[in-house]
């Protein structure tokens, strides 16, 4: 589903990633650890083609960095769910509207939108707060809405860039458990975090970004 082959990224003369290789298979839950500034966000940007590699190739589902055109990028992103540390919710839209937004944007059928949005909100446990605006929700709840928005299109892969970066330990654990549930339903998950405790509780393989290189690591659980 995701394949990085000898990928290097150089920005303004600085090497950010150096010949990294990586593979993500369907249904996998893979964690990525690395200190702040290690290049985790750069790696994520490569996966949703916000950034193209300086050398090497990135393949996500059937889209390859060597062949993809600007016009095709939105269609790839519709097959991905992406969540961020800062949630990126639209402040002027309710929880419901934020989730529905992802469906309208991708030209979903009007009739199915309501059902899909309610299903997604239910799966993150926030259907009762569908009419709340982001500022009326806690950090954890906002991240759940962001997750609902990311999964409402039933993506093949969920990319989570520091999803618990702004949350307390208990809420972080709740979010992790929610991601695990989503993974069990068949969505592959790639999660970046600098929270080692949380990562140890996650399932699956763990990769570490250090000194511009990506390596698989084992941690004692």
């Amino acid at each position: 589903m995701i394949n990085l082959s000898n990928v290097s990224v150089v920005i303004e003369g600085n090497v950010i990633l150096d010949k990294i290789n990586f593979n993500l298979q369907p249904h996998q839950f893979v964690s990525l650890v690395g200190s702040t500034g290690s290049g985790k966000t750069t790696l994520f940007k490569l996966l949703y083609f916000d950034l193209l590699p300086t050398s090497g190739s990135v393949t996500v589902i059937n889209y390859s960095s060597s062949q993809i055109s600007q016009i095709m990028i939105p269609y790839l992103r519709r097959k991905l769910g992406i969540i961020f540390q800062d949630y990126k919710l639209l402040e002027d839209k309710t929880a419901y509207e934020n989730v529905a937004f992802a469906l309208y944007v991708t030209n979903s059928n009007n009739k199915s939108i309501q059902q899909k949005v309610m299903d997604a909100l239910t799966s993150v446990g926030l259907s009762h707060k569908r009419n709340y605006y982001p500022e009326q929700l806690s950090g954890g709840e906002q991240q759940r809405i962001a997750i609902a928005r990311a999964i409402v299109n039933e993506p093949f892969i969920l990319l989570a860039d520091e999803p618990t970066g702004n949350l307390d330990p208990q809420t972080s654990l709740d979010i992790l458990n929610l991601l695990k549930e989503i993974n069990k339903r068949g969505t592959a998950i790639f999660m970046a975090t600098h929270n080692y405790d949380l990562m140890k509780k996650a399932d699956g393989k763990i990769f570490q970004l250090k000194d511009k290189k990506l390596t698989e690591v084992q941690f004692k659980k």
Binding site: A102, Y104, N107, N153
Partner: protein, 285 residues
């Protein structure tokens, strides 16, 4: 594309970002008031110039010894650029004198010294000093013609000033159009900058560029229509107030050209569209 959603999104700014929307509308209105005001002044200056040119007629005085007026009239009519020839007999000239000065010419001089004459009006394209001078000299050659007079100085003055006026006016118009467009585009661009988070999120969830662009274009066009309406209201009010202070003669020629409203609305829509298009383009690269 979900058109209903796009239109709804296009209008959502009117509820959610009122200040930005109002700033854009008023910038369009202000630009159109400036451009529209300029357009009206320009049109009316042209009208005044045309009115002055219309007043210029050639007066052709006939020698008293000449009696074949019809022949002279035919010869004048055939000259290129002549629009209408009106004969004024000696008696009619005396009546005109009486109307203008209140006295019978015969009672002053005991005879009528006023010659018979022709009033010659020119076709629109010939109401210029060069053409009038040429026609005048051609008439002068006709046998029986004593003298040709017309307001030569006035025509020369209008010709020289209208050229200068047109050049200055085109310069001002060009600068005004450029500055207004820049001002509006920049205001809308700033308003759209406030929505960059929305645009970023739309891109992340897989919206195509045209989908992202369309609500902003719809909003921009609607702002253009509202801005045009405000500008039209202000211009009509301004013209009404202005007409209160000018002479009756001037009042009659000051008017709003019929094409003005459609030009104003077209410009408003173009301004709104262009502002949104340029504003959102920055975030779609």
């Amino acid at each position: 594309m979900n058109l209903k959603y796009l239109i709804k999104e296009g209008f959502s700014g009117f509820q959610k970002a009122r200040f930005n929307v109002l700033a854009s509308i008023f910038s369009i209105a202000l630009a159109l008031i400036l451009i529209g005001g300029y357009f009206i002044i320009q049109t009316n200056i042209n009208n005044i110039v045309t009115m002055l040119r219309d007043k210029v007629e050639l007066e052709v005085f006939i020698n008293d010894a000449e009696t074949d007026y019809l022949k002279i009239e035919n010869l004048i009519s055939k000259i290129n650029g002549v629009n209408k020839v009106t004969f004024i007999s000696k008696n009619e000239a005396a009546n005109i004198f009486k109307n203008e000065f209140g006295e019978e010419i015969n009672s002053v001089l005991e005879f009528n010294p006023l010659p018979a004459s022709f009033r010659v009006s020119l076709k629109n394209d010939y109401k210029k000093s060069k053409s009038a001078s040429l026609i005048s000299s051609q008439i002068q050659l006709i046998q029986g013609v004593e003298k040709v007079i017309y307001r030569k100085k006035l025509l020369e003055y209008i010709d020289s000033r209208s050229k200068l006026l047109t050049t200055i006016s085109l310069g001002i118009g060009g600068i005004l159009l450029f500055v207004s467009f820049g001002f509006v585009v920049n205001t809308i661009r700033l308003a759209i900058s406030a929505k960059r988070k929305t645009i970023e999120t739309m891109k992340l969830v897989g919206a195509t560029n045209s989908f992202i662009r369309l609500p902003f274009i719809i909003e921009g066009i609607f702002q253009g229509i509202l801005g045009s309406t405000i500008a039209l209201g202000v211009i009509i009010l301004g013209l009404y107030l202005f007409s209160e202070f000018v002479t009756r003669e001037l009042k009659e020629i000051i008017f709003l050209p019929t094409s003005f409203i459609s030009i104003l609305y077209s410009l408003g829509i173009i301004l709104g569209w262009l502002g949104s298009f340029i504003g959102v383009r920055r975030f779609l690269k």
